[in-house]
């Protein structure tokens, strides 16, 4: 099942949809490091992932 993760940093609502949990964790951690100069812990990403059925690899 594809997974969606949305960044909730103040002023940010970047969203990514990935094929699985592992790639969602990777994408989220990359976003937090590159855009916010910070880090997000694995469990904190995994526990808020949403199941989606829309096309994969979309980010906005």
């Amino acid at each position: 099942m594809a997974k969606r993760w949305t960044c909730v940093e103040a002023g940010c609502s970047w969203t990514v949809v990935t094929p699985d949990t592992e790639s969602a964790v990777h994408a989220a951690q990359e976003h937090i490091a590159a855009v916010h100069g910070s880090f997000e812990l694995e469990e904190m990403i995994e526990d808020v992932l949403e199941d989606v059925t829309e096309p994969l690899d979309s980010s906005r």
Partner: protein, 319 residues
């Protein structure tokens, strides 16, 4: 299959549903990710300690000694949660909490060893000299009160949970569990302390020093990710059972609102840090904790954290 005697089946707690569930998965992950303080090499940190300036030593020690005290406090204050899991007959919670308690003890051990081997201090009288004793924090606008979360909120909410365990109904225990977990996991570990971890990691990288401290903080954080999300998941499970428990979470955050809207003292203790970064980060962590608990965040609290006119420093007398 023959019908079993309920008094015998009640002696067994594992079920297929439980071992496939999210809390048991956290227990398994904790076992897989086990690390030891003995694996960490403190020798470079000891050399770095010799080369930094007296001001840098004072600033860094002010932070690390607080963590040394804080990790001992959270180790000591966790027992009510274990007793609550037992009373609520949630064996997967009890199993996970056994790793949680051991890990908090290990975090305290890490800071004890770092101070012993790098700074050369260990006994209470030695480390206490470096503890930044906080004066009464004053918000100049008079809107917020700053209270002692670690030494007031955790023992108080823990005491209420123990009282409910001894003489309350299951509903009393659940309500007290949500309050305690909201204070311990969501507020202290999950929002208030997160910028402090990152400030220490940022500082070691900015100074290109203290690799053991950096490594230890990263290992501790990976454990904290499980602890925090266990607490918020437990809250979510209980709130889904009785939505009125959501109010307990908001009451806890409201009682200690001043502590989260003010700046963390380390933000001003370590020069050149980007102050906005840590306030934005608090908002992200607060929103995430609410998302994990399945509750709506308090938008006023978010506006207050981000309000640049609210810039008093928690732990330092304003002015």
């Amino acid at each position: 299959m023959a019908v079993s005697d309920p008094s015998v089946t009640s002696r067994f707690h594992f079920s297929r549903e439980m071992i496939e569930g999210p809390i048991y998965r956290k227990y398994e992950k904790a076992i897989r990710k086990m690390w030891s303080v003995e694996q960490i090499d403190f020798s470079q940190d000891a050399l770095d300690w010799e080369r930094i300036t007296p001001d840098q030593r004072t600033g860094l020690l002010g932070v690390t000694v607080r963590f040394l005290a804080g990790e001992q406090a959270v180790t000591d204050e966790l027992v009510p949660m274990l007793a609550g899991a037992h009373r609520l007959r949630r064996f997967d919670w009890t199993m996970f909490l056994s790793t949680f308690l051991m890990e908090e003890a290990k975090h305290a051990e890490f800071f004890m060893r770092w101070h012993e081997r790098v700074v050369g201090v260990l006994d209470p009288e030695e480390v206490a000299q470096h503890f930044l004793v906080r004066g009464k924090t004053v918000d100049p606008t008079g809107r917020f009160t700053v209270r002692d979360v670690m030494y007031e909120a955790l023992p108080d909410y823990g005491g209420q949970l123990m009282e409910a365990i001894h003489s309350g109904t299951d509903v009393d225990v659940e309500r007290a569990f949500v309050r305690f977990s909201a204070a311990y996991n969501a507020f202290v570990e999950g929002v208030l302390t997160m910028p402090s971890y990152e400030i220490v990691i940022d500082t070691t990288e900015r100074w290109d020093a203290f690799p053991a401290l950096n490594q230890g903080f990263r290992l501790i954080l990976s454990d904290e990710g499980r602890h925090i999300t266990f607490g918020t998941m437990a809250c979510r499970i209980l709130i889904e059972k009785d939505p009125s428990y959501e109010q307990c979470v908001h009451e806890v955050f409201d009682a200690y609102r001043g502590n989260v809207v003010g700046l963390v003292e380390y933000q001003k203790a370590v020069p050149d840090l980007d102050l906005d970064k840590y306030q934005n980060m608090k908002v992200r962590h607060y929103r995430n904790r609410c998302r994990e608990m399945g509750i709506a965040p308090d938008e006023t609290l978010i506006e207050q954290i981000l309000d640049p006119t609210i810039d008093f420093v928690v732990g330092v007398e304003a002015g």
